[in-house]
Symmetry: C2
Subunit: 207 residues, 2 copies
Amino acid sequence: MTEPRSDELTATPNNEGVDEAVAAARRVINALLHAGDNTTAEMRPVADRLNAVAEYLESHAPSIDERLVDMWAGEGVTRHDPITGPENAIAPPLALTGHDDGSISGEVTLGLPYQGPPGYVHGGVSAMLLDHTLGVANWWGGTSGVTARLTVDYHHPTPLFTPLTVTGKQVRVEGRKIWTEGSITANGVHTVTTEGFFIAKELPRPR
Amino acid sequence: MTEPRSDELTATPNNEGVDEAVAAARRVINALLHAGDNTTAEMRPVADRLNAVAEYLESHAPSIDERLVDMWAGEGVTRHDPITGPENAIAPPLALTGHDDGSISGEVTLGLPYQGPPGYVHGGVSAMLLDHTLGVANWWGGTSGVTARLTVDYHHPTPLFTPLTVTGKQVRVEGRKIWTEGSITANGVHTVTTEGFFIAKELPRPR
């Protein structure tokens, strides 16, 4: 694995237009939920317009196998994961930064697409953000692995529409075993904490 | 809480066009990742077209407060969560069905937006699917709760582009404490199993 060259743990774009298009897709996802099913918006023409965009993109896409090779080219951070990926409209996205003490952190504010209980972040979304953050913390810490066990403790509901701080830090490595911790903080309170147990290995990249 | 009236644990739409529009948005999310950042597609015009759709929807949307009341109207299953929600383009969506033995299950095939390791489902996505499935299993079992601790064990990588079975079952209720289990199965093998510990309460719905 190459050493991190920067404390910004998100890859830079190859094509600025892609990031704009994905940001616009995020806005559509949010607006669909915001308008909802009692809106006066005409939804069938919206479906037609979105399907036309999808058709255009699909007609300019390589095969899935070619795309998998391309998206995994290089050995460092990637741009497509569902948490930090600038190319993945499902990702909020969370932007993570590495620190000198071995920890990493990022800020993110989550809206309607990430809702669980009324007005709060879905517990599964918190688990997803933390699992990914622990994985990146392992990479930043110098020993990457695959998750063997993730334990997530929910102390308080995590609010939507509020800046959240997500942190992770590799705390121990013994042979191939890795232990890593993380948290989500809102308004100065740890709402969710997590412990991950990882095994040091990486699945092969397609070539 | 109202009793489930059907074994289909996804609400029916108020407006068929919404589901079509959200399905088209899912197709856009997928196509953006499939086309990627080395495509010959012109991404800036794609961004413009998507922003125009978002503007149209936003101009027909109520205030967030009104929308939150509306989306939480009724006491049963909802349509907006990020796992099963037909109105949420982030949701694959997973469709869950309740069974007479108290368990629930659903099938889903995940594509590029849900990728973690090359060709496999992101561990955080598996955790998200399972957290939600355990929550619905609690509702089906008769005692709903909020997640206090979620433990997720990863036994094997979970493949993309492969039908997955997601299951959940409430196994024990003692006073306000609830224990619930679940799994993800691919090609006949349990790839991920989970145990959830819940506290029986529900956060208030906005009115």
